[in-house]
């Protein structure tokens, strides 16, 4: 179920501007991989190339290959819609559909996949349990999803994303709009989710990266006014104790720029 991602020499553009340059990396299945790096170095851009969400921005374009268990996501015959069903995504700001109830939000992706009505209840409950939200919302499944607290909304979005059983779950700063308790709830959740999914998380929080991730990738700009790139990637303990590059150490210890 969880799949492995191999990225080979990937460039991402916004129109004529190259935002990300020459990235190659491997993301292991059933693990949490953290992307860290200064603002504007292309973490979000690169993350969105992994489920072909980058190209929904007008003028945006990708060069290079992304292999999901040896299948190239950017091969000509591949349908981006199918890619996004296999590689799910959670955004920085919780974005439940405001016109839908808690239940409908979780079921939204399932309905697109043509899951039968009779099976929906089970999958919705399973996904909400998987997102550690079931106990809090089981009494108000019919209430608007936007009426939950920010942390609950973010877990609702996680439930919505895992309901369609993706192979990979991408999360772009999923806790940056949340309080410490909700953050902890989501960090715990990642620990259990990685048994079933490959998880990639972008974070600005070094402690968070150290707590939840197995491997960490450090991104930085190639230079002022230049595109962002991958500086190094290694086991999280290694990156945080004994990084191979001086910039990484400076960034992690807060002696940056």
């Amino acid at each position: 179920m969880a799949k492995r991602i191999d990225v080979d020499n990937l460039d991402a553009y916004y129109g004529k501007t190259k935002a990300v340059s020459g990235i190659s990396m491997t993301v292991e299945p059933r693990s949490v991989t953290a992307f860290i790096g200064p603002s504007g170095c292309g973490k979000s851009t690169f993350l969105r190339t992994l489920n072909r969400m980058h190209e929904v921005i007008p003028g945006a374009r990708v060069d290079g290959r992304v292999l999901l268990d040896d299948e190239d996501l950017y091969a000509p015959q591949v349908d981006p819609v199918a890619v996004r069903r296999t590689v799910g995504m959670v955004f920085q700001r919780p974005n439940p559909f405001p016109t839908m109830s808690v239940y409908e939000n979780v079921a939204a992706g399932l309905k697109l996949n043509g899951v039968r009505k009779a099976d929906l209840d089970d999958v919705v409950e399973k996904s909400l349990r998987g997102a550690n939200l079931w106990e809090e919302v089981k009494g108000r499944l019919k209430k608007p999803g936007a009426g939950l607290s920010g942390g609950q909304q973010q877990r609702l979005c996680i439930a919505r994303a895992i309901a369609v059983e993706p192979a990979v779950l991408l999360m772009d700063e999923p806790c940056s709009a949340l309080d410490p308790i909700s953050t902890l709830a989501i960090e715990d959740l990642m620990g259990s989710l990685k048994e079933r999914f490959t998880i990639v998380i972008v974070t600005h929080n070094m402690q968070q990266a150290a707590r939840v991730s197995d491997r960490t990738a450090f991104f930085n700009l190639e230079g002022p006014g230049r595109p962002g790139t991958l500086i190094e990637m290694d086991a999280t303990e290694k990156i945080f104790s004994n990084p191979g590059v001086k910039d990484t150490e400076d960034y992690i210890s807060g002696r940056f720029g």
Binding site: V81, F97, T99, L112
Partner: protein, 354 residues
């Protein structure tokens, strides 16, 4: 540095001048000089407020008086007409207020008004929403701009022009559609043709003209709300593996629903009240009928007022038209009430502010 006197000034002052650690030194004035101009107010401001308050209150009261006077006049004349009516004003199908024994009623007019507007909405809502979606989510930028401009242009065409175009161009062209609908769907009561081949100055043709007239209203309002759909919701749908159409169904349409309903209701209000174009297109009659494709059987309240006003030879004739106008007003009120109710029903799930 000397410690500040304990109670020189309140701890919180506008402008954030108070800082506990330092002796404040206002540029001018002694310790007692009030150095917070913002607390004192600028003398003139109050007088300005009073003048404006008086003006706006006066305007509001004047407006109420004018409206009450209009309503009173219309009600008085309308009731006059209903009193001399020898038939039942609500149930009589026929309009003869100018005879010595005036007999008239709005039954046929109400049915005609509602039917022609329903035809207009059935055509205009799907087409209008479709065009709005095309402009907001499918068309390339340049084409979208051009289309938006054309739609706005359509809204600016006066209704007499639609009427002229309708009688001179559209009516002859509607012949084929009438025959087709009559022969294939004739078993549906509304499409039953009792005079096949008759010149199609019908409720149906009037409905088509109305549809074209109200299309820009629906399109413009729908396009506005569709464009306001938050990017985050569209991306949420796309990231779940939605195609573009599925994304529109999950994110754009639910978000825009209140706007589409408001636009449609505005359009319906316009269709119900439209006078000139209908009066020019339709061949008028006063039967209660569901037959959209039969000319000379029916008309609308507004068109009847336009046609009947010049012919009203006695005051009763005019009064009768006024009474029918009041009925149109009530219909419009009911329609608006229903629309509000629909929009408010899922307030809890408020998708947009439209």
């Amino acid at each position: 540095m000397t410690p500040p006197p304990p109670t020189r000034r309140p701890a919180t002052t506008p402008g954030g001048q108070a800082s506990p650690g330092s002796v404040p030194g206002p540029p001018s004035g002694g310790p007692e000089a009030p150095d917070h101009p913002s607390l004192r107010g600028r003398g003139g401001g109050r007088a300005g407020d009073r003048v404006f308050l008086g003006l706006s209150r006066g305007a509001g009261i004047l407006l109420l008086i004018v409206i009450a006077a209009i309503a009173g006049f219309l009600l008085y004349r309308g009731i006059n007409a209903i009193k001399v009516d020898q038939g039942n004003f609500l149930t009589t199908a026929g309009w003869d207020p100018n005879g010595l024994k005036p007999v008239f009623g709005v039954a046929a007019l109400v049915v005609g008004t509602v039917l022609s507007s329903i035809v207009a909405m059935v055509i205009a809502v799907p087409v209008g929403v479709g065009v709005a979606l095309f402009i907001s989510h499918y068309a390339p930028r340049r084409l979208a701009q051009l289309l938006g401009w054309v739609v706005d242009l359509l809204a600016a065409v006066p209704s007499v022009v639609y009427g002229l175009w309708g009688t001179l161009f559209l009516v002859p062209k509607m012949m084929g559609i009438h025959t087709w609908l009559g022969s294939y769907l004739g078993w549906v009561p509304v499409f039953n043709q009792s005079q096949p081949g008759a010149y199609p100055r019908t409720l149906f043709t009037a409905g088509v003209v109305l549809a074209i007239m109200v299309l820009p209203i629906i399109t413009a309002m729908s396009r506005e709300v569709f464009l306001q759909t938050p990017r985050a919701h569209e991306e949420a749908a796309l990231a779940l593996g939605a195609t573009r159409w599925e994304m529109i169904r999950t994110a754009v349409l639910p978000f825009g629903r209140p706007g589409v309903i408001s636009g449609s209701m505005l359009a319906l209000g316009r269709a119900l009240g439209e006078t000139m174009a209908v009066a020019m297109v339709i061949s008028q009659g006063f039967n209660v009928t569901l037959h959209l494709l039969d000319p000379g059987t029916s008309t609308t309240i507004a068109a009847n007022i336009a046609n009947g006003f010049g012919e009203a030879s006695r005051p009763v004739g005019v009064d009768a038209l006024i009474a029918s106008g009041l009925v149109l007003f009530v219909i419009t009120l009911i329609v608006n009430g229903i629309a509000r109710w629909i929009v408010a029903r899922r307030k809890e799930f408020a998708g947009s502010a439209a």
